[in-house]
């Protein structure tokens, strides 16, 4: 995907991953990953199941402490102040047992934003404004994920991490989420997205990180990755073959 918009200055870029490793129960899950994520495009992390994509994303966001190696945001190691400028949308969103609007207001208040109009505008952007006073746990799967995205976006994050945000969603919800991702990307938010959906990756990706067995097999611009992947694992994956 071409990046025609002017990238806004993003104070957390580049994201430098230096020799990141993580093992659990004697099994190496992240294996010495080193890369640099920069630019204003959407970075897509792909790979077969169990490749370590979600774990890698959690390491980047600071939810999981690696055994060794480090992540740097614009040269700085992670800190609560840096994480406060990031948001994450999980594959299974955590929905607070309150109304849709109260879910959004909770997040807004954590960043000192008390203007409920901003929350309502954010809900409208995700086509949820008519459900503002609805109990959030009664929303459909797609609506819940849109609410999770609205919560992530209301704080205007510098970096937005998404872990398969559209898996099992209907095309309308997928379209709403993708259009919003494009919009915030244009506004300068760096997006790092884990997805299994090849179509989505082709629509959104600026560059692709391909993980296999916890290793970074390939990091290429999206155009070259989809046209001519370098690694055999990526070639097989794109060809729809089983990757072991």
């Amino acid at each position: 995907m071409s990046d025609k918009t002017t990238p806004a200055l993003n104070c957390l870029l580049p994201i430098t991953v230096d020799n990141l490793s993580l093992a659990m129960n004697d099994r190496v899950l992240i294996d010495r990953i080193t890369c640099q994520i920069k630019g204003n495009g959407i970075t897509v992390i792909m790979g077969p199941n169990g490749a370590g994509k979600s774990l890698f994303l959690r390491c980047l966001h600071g939810l999981v402490e690696p055994d060794s190696g480090q992540v740097y945001f614009a040269g700085e190691p992670p800190s609560p102040a840096i994480r406060q400028r990031q948001s994450m949308v999980f594959q299974a969103p955590t929905i607070l047992r309150r109304t849709v609007l109260a879910n959004l207001l909770f997040v807004a208040r954590q960043r000192g934003m008390s203007n409920s109009q901003t929350s309502i505008d954010c809900l409208a952007q995700l086509r949820l404004d008519h459900l503002a006073q609805h109990p959030a746990r009664l929303l459909s799967g797609g609506e819940k994920q849109r609410l999770a995205l609205a919560r992530a976006l209301i704080i205007k994050p510098a970096v937005l991490f998404l872990d398969e945000p559209t898996s099992n969603l209907d095309p309308t919800s997928v379209d709403t989420i993708e259009r919003n991702l494009q919009l915030v990307r244009q506004q300068g938010t760096k997006i790092i997205l884990v997805t299994h959906d090849l179509g989505q990756a082709k629509r959104l990706a600026g560059d692709v990180l391909f993980l296999n067995h916890g290793k970074l097999s390939e990091h290429s611009p999206a155009t070259s990755f989809f046209k001519n992947p370098e690694s055999k694992a990526a070639k097989d994956y794109l060809a729809g073959k089983l990757v072991f």
Binding site: L63, P80, S87, T94, R97
Partner: protein, 235 residues
Amino acid sequence: MSIYSDSLAAAFGLLATADSDLMEILYLSINVSLLSLVLSCAIGLPIGAILAIRQFHGRDTLVGIFNALMGLPPVVVGLLVYLHLSRSGPFGWLGLLYTPQAMVIAQMILITPIIIALSCQVLEDMHEGYKDFFDSLVVPKRTALVAYIIDARYSLMTVILAGFGRAVSEVGAVIIVGGNIDHLTRVMTTAIALETSKGELELALALGFVLLSISLAVNFLAQWLKASAKRRAYV
């Protein structure tokens, strides 16, 4: 079967005429149970919350102990409180034995582990569900705890009602430390025990019906709260 219908009629009669003795017993029963419940919640809810969200050495052992203490035998608690409050005991100088305050202390010891263990379980479930989201948002622990309590309010209400149910229906401990003194420490359960021992089964059963009604009302309230929360998707 006539004893049941007679007792039921007697229970209605006592309530309808607002029998002064019954009202006094009822008032003291509810008063002692509510006071011990409030004090147990003041102690138990913060401890339950800490156990739910903090990881420290010995935490699991503590949770196990509080779970086990939910089944504390009331007579044993009564005996221990008696030993401590009797004139030769370490707190004998307080002169609390055979007073409603002694009954409150005994009931607190019985209810507090229930409040701790059940609230810990409720809040731990909340913590597990919200942890990643709150960590991602960098939500301070205190704010997170308030959020857990708000979101688990209906479940915590059920925990509190369970504590009240235990307190109001308890007899073993309060009869030992209260002494079942007429117009001073006589509550529903001790009155039932006394009337039974006197062979006044009809009156004992009538009091039993009243006690059962209170217990049922509390449990229906708990069930209604849970159901209404479920309907509104807050559970």
